[in-house]
Symmetry: C2
Subunit: 303 residues, 2 copies
């Protein structure tokens, strides 16, 4: 029998005592020297360097985090060669026992949505994906089917951490904002037949940024069994304290993601002095451990 | 000097006297026998067959339409091999003098959005892309930069043609729906510096479905210089009459897309009898010509 995604995630969270999701956002120019492609390298050489780096990164973070989040845009920038690098990265994470949340933010209708689900769950093998709900909740159906039948998961964009997020997400409809209406609908969908895990957490998650702690806590109340992905930690300005409201008792139900703040810390500030480029692995490890401990510090005991 | 996307599109519309956008949504099982991969074919073989078919399709439609719209999901379903097939399809369209609107519905923040723009405009070479606005209008900026500096275009999802579209798009905010607020903002953005073509049409377009003709006409009023992409023709139930409101005087400012209704018509209804599988090219040509003439019939003379 297939284990539901939320149960696989909760087990990994407990086993590693870690709520950190490492975002893998490769930028060729910022890779450690060991992997950085030379000026004028071919697209294939760049894409290959990116995958090699991502796999070395996974060797470092796999024991420390339950899940990683490769951002497909940074691979897609290199077309088919980049897509191949993305596939290598996903496969390497799975081989190392880390769950994969593919940050694809796809959203389309009917059979088009099915094709995306087939690609990311079926062909590439992600454990979960991020989805964009603007086209409507019927667009989630093909992904829900994979959740029910193949133990996959999804995180639907609800409230993002960028400055322009308010443009649509915060428009006021009656007595609540657009994203609050959406949150209520997602909680309802996620409580449906075949979607709840034995852990009491659903296969239907939500993306809620760390940049507005009060909103995060309020949305947690609206979505009591929804797993949350909380971006915006570190580079985007959110801290552990601001993530407190995301967690369920026992530090369940949420993972917090950081990308550049972990992977490229070796090139900036304090870490540049402590580690620098040749010791980038130690820099990554230290950044993950710091974040892990900071997040564990805001979790409350199991009820 | 780079010619703005809307001017290139308007020239092609006039030159071919056609407002048809052929959607390229490959489904392996529905390809003409000539291209259909055998049961159990490898992913690479399927992806290759899809590209071969798409290129043969382009040979038929290139003289008849200004623009084609490959739907990336049906390629992405096959991972890197599918992405390679997508690149071959885009390149083949450009070689045949047809503009390419890559239907990718991407939407992400900051440098992630930049990476998508680099991939689809820079690396793959699309003339325009579809974008999802849920994350906010700041997410359009990297794409706007390509519009201003490289003659590219974008179509932002406003009102889609699927049953669930109303879930978020039709929520009522003050005296207007979410999608109407969005339309007004897009019209404003599209009128900005460096985005208007000499044709009086902007580089910033909108996707508005053909399934609600009154809405389409109302949105045209809110967005008087916005190029429209109108999906939902044919297979999804919209007809030429329902598209009337999309066009500016002289049949300018809009293209209407159809995918299965053109490409796979040979396998169904009337066309199955008239043409059948071996004569799929004639079926495609007849379907495009019928749609072209029907749309031209609802256009009004230039003002």
């Amino acid at each position: 029998l297939t284990v539901p995604f939320p149960d696989r995630l909760e087990s990994a969270i407990q086993a590693k005592n870690s709520r950190v999701c490492v975002g893998i956002d490769p930028r060729a120019a910022r890779l450690p020297t060991e992997f950085r492609p030379p000026e004028g390298a071919s697209v294939e050489a760049i894409a290959s360097a990116i995958a090699d780096w991502a796999i070395a990164l996974l060797d470092v973070v796999a024991p420390l985090v339950p899940i990683v989040k490769p951002q497909i845009a940074f691979f897609e920038a290199y077309g088919a060669a980049g897509f191949h690098a993305f596939e290598r990265t996903v496969a390497a994470a799975r081989e190392r026992g880390v769950l994969v949340l593919s940050d694809v933010k796809r959203g389309d209708i009917g059979s088009t949505s099915e094709a995306y689900a087939q690609g990311h769950f079926g062909h590439i093998g992600a454990d979960a994906v991020t989805l964009n709900p603007y086209l409507g909740l019927d667009t989630l159906e093909p992904f829900l089917h994979w959740c029910r039948t193949a133990g996959k998961g999804m995180y639907v964009l609800v409230r993002t951490s960028n400055p322009g997020a308010a443009d649509l997400q915060d428009l006021v409809v009656g007595d609540a904002k657009v994203h609050e209406h959406l949150a209520a609908r997602l909680a309802e969908i996620g409580a449906g037949e075949g979607l709840m895990g034995a852990s009491g957490v659903s296969s239907v998650g939500a993306v809620v940024g760390a940049t507005y702690p009060e909103e995060l806590a309020a949305l947690r109340t609206v979505m009591p069994t929804t797993p949350l992905l909380v971006p915006g930690y570190g580079a985007q300005g959110g801290g552990a304290e601001g993530c407190r409201g995301a967690f369920l008792p026992g530090g369940r139900g949420a993972v917090v993601s950081s990308s550049r703040g972990i992977t490229f810390a070796f090139g900036q500030g304090d870490h540049a002095e402590r580690f620098g480029d040749p010791r980038w692995r130690e820099s990554v490890e230290a950044a993950v451990v710091d974040m892990r401990d900071a997040l564990n510090g805001v979790c409350t005991p199991a009820a």
